[in-house]
């Protein structure tokens, strides 16, 4: 049964990955990318890595792909122009691709875990613990220093985004909520008797 689902997920994933590259409309590309991510999550589930599966859906489908979608729809990217030099670079690109593929094949064929790796495992997972629970057990205890460091990395990213994009323009009218709340009808609304046919 698992084999059936494996081939189902794998086929759809590879097919949609191809569509991502070949689709003419970039919005379709992004939508097929989401489909590929969902099937990837299915493959992770089959492999018993349910945490990675959830992460893939939440982070990649939920955030990254939607961000791509916004970028594609909001920025006016001329894809025809981008593809102009395509034919010129195909031979070089294909050559590099073939070399990398051959190398990866060599690595995959000639690769096996070392004998010592079983005894070196830092946090072996007991058979009856799901890997989400196992991660939870070490993330805030053994690896708390990494957790804090990641927080600093995110802080840096936030400061960077603000530094590079926030413009303080001098002549912009800003909302002053305090002032708005303090307004009442007595102070700001003025009733006037307007004489007929003369105006204010």
């Amino acid at each position: 049964m698992a084999a059936v689902f494996f081939y189902l997920f794998a086929t759809i994933m590879i097919a949609s990955a191809c569509v991502v590259i070949f689709a003419r409309n970039p919005v379709h590309s992004v939508l097929f990318l989401i489909l590929a991510f969902c099937n990837g999550a299915g493959l992770f589930l089959l492999a018993g890595a349910e945490f990675l599966a959830m992460l893939l859906i939440v982070v990649y489908v939920g955030a990254v792909a939607v961000l791509f979608l916004f970028v594609v729809m909001m920025l006016d990217v001329d894809f025809a122009e981008l593809k102009q030099g395509f034919a010129k670079y195909v031979p070089v690109g294909a050559a590099v691709g073939v070399v990398v593929l051959a190398e990866l094949a060599m690595v995959t064929v000639g690769w096996q875990p070392s004998e010592a790796s079983k005894s070196l495992l830092e946090t072996p997972i007991a058979a009856n613990v799901s890997n989400t629970a196992a991660l939870g057990q070490v993330l805030y205890t053994k690896y708390v220093i990494f957790f804090q460091t990641s927080a600093l990395v995110l802080l840096t990213a936030m400061i960077g985004a603000i530094v590079l994009t926030l413009h303080h323009k001098p002549n912009v009218k800003r909302q002053n909520i305090e002032e708005q709340n303090a307004r009442n009808a007595k102070n700001v609304v003025e009733l006037k008797k307007v004489p007929f046919r003369t105006g204010v």
């Binding site: 690595v107 875990p113 070392s114 790796s117 053994k142 220093i145 960077g160 530094v163 590079l164």
Partner: protein
Amino acid sequence: MPFLAELGQHFLPEVILAIGVLVLILIGAFRGERGFSLVDEMAVGILGLAIVAILLSSKQVDVAVFDGAFIDDAFSRFVKVLALVGAMVSILMSVDWLQRNGLEKFEFPVLVILSTLGMMLLISADNLIALYLGLELMSLALYVMAAFARDDGRSSEAGLKYFVLGALSSGMMLYGSSLLYGFSGTVSFDGIAQAVTEHPPLGVIFGLVFVLAGLAFKMSAAPFHMWTPDVYEGAPTPVTAFFASAAKMAAVAITARIVITAFPAITTQWRQIIVFLAIASTLLGSFAAIGQTNIKRLMAYSSIGHMGFALIGLAAGTEAGVKGVAVYLAIYLVMTLGSFAAILAMRVDGRNVENISDLSGLSRTNGLMAFFLAMLMFSLAGIPPLAGFFAKYYVLLAAVDAGLYPLAVVGVLASAVAAFYYLRVVKVMYFDEPAPDFDRSPLAIRAVLAASTVALLGFWLYPAPIMDAAGAAAKSLF
């Protein structure tokens, strides 16, 4: 050891930087643009405090902390002091430049400290996760700083180029790390050293190559140097000074640590890679710089060449070699900071100028600065008795002792070629017709220029402090 005790005893400099930077952000957020000079001064103070904390703990024994995530040893303390000095001097030199160019934002010192914190984590990283987190913390802040002058097209271009290529190199490094982890079942360097035996499968070699490629990118060793000239030229000059000084310390240090502590069994394999990087970098650094007219680009190629020399020492793979690398880093730091002080002093009528021809006849318009810069150039070229000569001497000696004669010969030849463009700067300053005089530069920049020259001249009279510290540092890696 309890968590807080480890933080206090072996992680104090990092804790000082982390808490200090949060305080600075709050001050900056509440005081806005007016807070720039206060934040700037406090940033220098925080970095100084971290240096004091390291120097006070310099007699401690080497110990791994946080379950082997980081290591507090003599090597990490030595390079951390170098990185902190680089960061501190970069901030000191930047104040005036940023104010003149309308960039006096409090985020600048904040980013410098965050990046320095990343470097310190990177320098003392003892497993692959710590390595990656330190590297990203350092690089993310550097990408933003490269684009700090966001209204300047060249600066934005520099930031974007650095970011795209940096992300690519991080990806390669992560792929290599995953291969290593998959093979050995552990991310700790000691564990990898136990798992990797004399004849490892191809996958391990691939992992090693990918990891070293990622690190070579960060230290801009050829053939992973393509970004360097453009980024160095485009980024604001104080940022370039920071890139060329502190960032290199961390990248070279972690490269030395990972090959020596995690791969002692396959020295012959990683030596091939390091030797190739060293030869390519020294040759490229000396030949490509000949045609440059912009002094920042010249310094970019010069730094590529110098990284090649540092790698010559590492290629030896011996204690003497690592000692040579440590000495090289210290002297390179002084030379780079001094040269960038001179570049920051190049202002004519309130405009920054960066062409070598702008230095023409400097000996007649500003004799003292010409003398300082000439000494720096002689030292960069490696002419005795200046410190630059001893830096090259120790790495080449280590390479010869390890039997790497061809590498040492290439190093000497490249050094001879590189001397041409350093000496050309001296020739332009002393024998060409004077160009317009430079504006009077601020005290901090003149002080850095003078101090670095004195340090380079004084090294051969009293080298003991640096040599002893470097010797202890090298010893702790083996």
